[in-house]
Amino acid sequence: MSTDLIQAGYLVASILFVLGIKNLSHPRTASRGNALGSTGMAVAVVVTIADRSLVSYTTLAAGLVVGAGIGAVLALRVQMTGMPQLVGLFNGSGGAASALVGIASLITAADNATDTTQLTVGAASTIAIGSATFSGSTIAVAKLSEKLNRVRHGYWARILTALAAAATVSLSVAIVLDPGTRLWGWLLIGTGIVLGAAIVAPIGGADMPVVVALLNSLSGLAAAGTGFVLDNPVLIVAGSLVGASGLILTGIMCRAMNRTLTHVLFAEMTSHQTDNDDDIYAGRVTSSSADEVAMMLDGAQLVAFVPGYGMAVAQAQHAVRDLCQQLQTSGTEVVFAIHPVAGRMPGHMNVLLAEAEVPYEQLIEMEEINPRFRQVDVAVVIGANDVVNPSAQNDPDSPIAGMPILDAHNARTVVVIKRSLSPGFAGIANPLFAADNTVMLFGDGREAVSDITRSLRETTR
């Protein structure tokens, strides 16, 4: 194939990627966006394979078959609850791929004496960003699947981060000055891995939506780096588009928590309030039963569910959907109040409730639902904690002060379904649990909700 034809193919692919991402950000066109993006990818792959500068196809074919098999199995078998982990895993494998391309190209170029400055700078950045994305995502996945708790030694993690960052920069410079020495490349992979892990390890679960979005952006930048290495425009365009969109998503997540990115990445969440939990809760928490809650719901005109990550953990979304349908058959209006950072990934609650076939129109965003909470008869908080903590509004000393919250406390009655009074990710007590208009229903989310539904069915009969 002639060079012009190949370049034209890459141009078509680049345009398809631009249209794909644009369409993905609008509800009506999202499916088309995904189709355009995958078509762009197919075009780019076919063009590259047809390029006659390739001499061997065996490795390539084997890699494609294995990768496609693994990717398809993972994508088709995942439960919507496991979506944050899967997205994290895909981010990590993209980062690993970029780092591997970076080092393989660097070795090849150094051997053939075709190493330009553009190539070495590109390779060094790709190897560093790619391996940090890989290890950061791996740690994030481990945290998301509850296999790794928050690392408490934040101070040492910061020192390690600083050391790894310095080593990464030095080794990158070494690669540019002396591309012939392979050791620099291998060491850079090592320091990149340490850097990514050291940054992500001390970050708490509540900040995971920010981390996942940021890693998404980094996997894009690593891909853009390979474009500099291979002198290929389609990689630069696609990679930087993803880098930009990931960065925007990261910004949205930070704003939803009223925090800056540096604060999320490098600041300790000080939880100096934990010792006075008893003062807040003592003698003021009202415990309730499923039957009582069913009675409250029975007479309600407007009920708002406030779901959080706990709903995902308890796999309670289907039980919640059943309760919601039961309420609707007796004429109650039901809405879902969705906080932008509820869950462990941007948009997590929407995906979960979509899986449970809750109609889209019933999911109400924070800005829209907050003024309506005063008309809500019963707010059912299930598995959410920090996103309904009124301290964010009333207590300027609270670690979450200023974070936008759902005003569930304004509802006539608040029912909180929760296993215990244990604090959320921010590690602070929640005065909502002790409020006069709040009752606590202790127990497993799914069982508690099913019990309410059963009780409600019996009373309506």
Binding site: L64, G71, F90, G94, T108, G246, P346, E357
Partner: protein, 94 residues
């Protein structure tokens, strides 16, 4: 491409990405992330080039790893995004 041309392309594409996506409805946060993540699997092009170059055993092994991981990213990412979006749209009809 000259280096400055490559940097120009990079800068313009970043700006295009930032300007293009202004408001994303929360429903689409996850699909946008997984869909754009699949696009970042474009590094597969680099992996294919490296695998086809057949330079040495070492680079072939590295390239094989790159093709596998990039393909997982691409195929898995687009498929799971498709699944999610299908879930959103089937719900609207019912």
């Amino acid at each position: 491409m000259t280096p400055i041309l490559a940097i120009t392309l990079f800068a313009l594409a970043v700006f295009l990405g930032v300007e293009m996506i202004t408001k994303i409805p929360p429903t689409l946060h996850t699909p946008l992330m997984s869909g754009s993540n699949a696009i970042s699997g474009i590094t597969l092009i680099g992996a294919i080039t490296a695998a086809g170059a057949d330079h040495s055993t070492l680079t072939t092994v590295l390239a094989f790893g790159a093709v596998v991981t990039a393909t997982i990213n691409v195929v898995g990412g687009f498929l799971v995004t498709h699944r999610m979006l299908a879930m959103f749209s089937s719900r609207k009809k019912s």
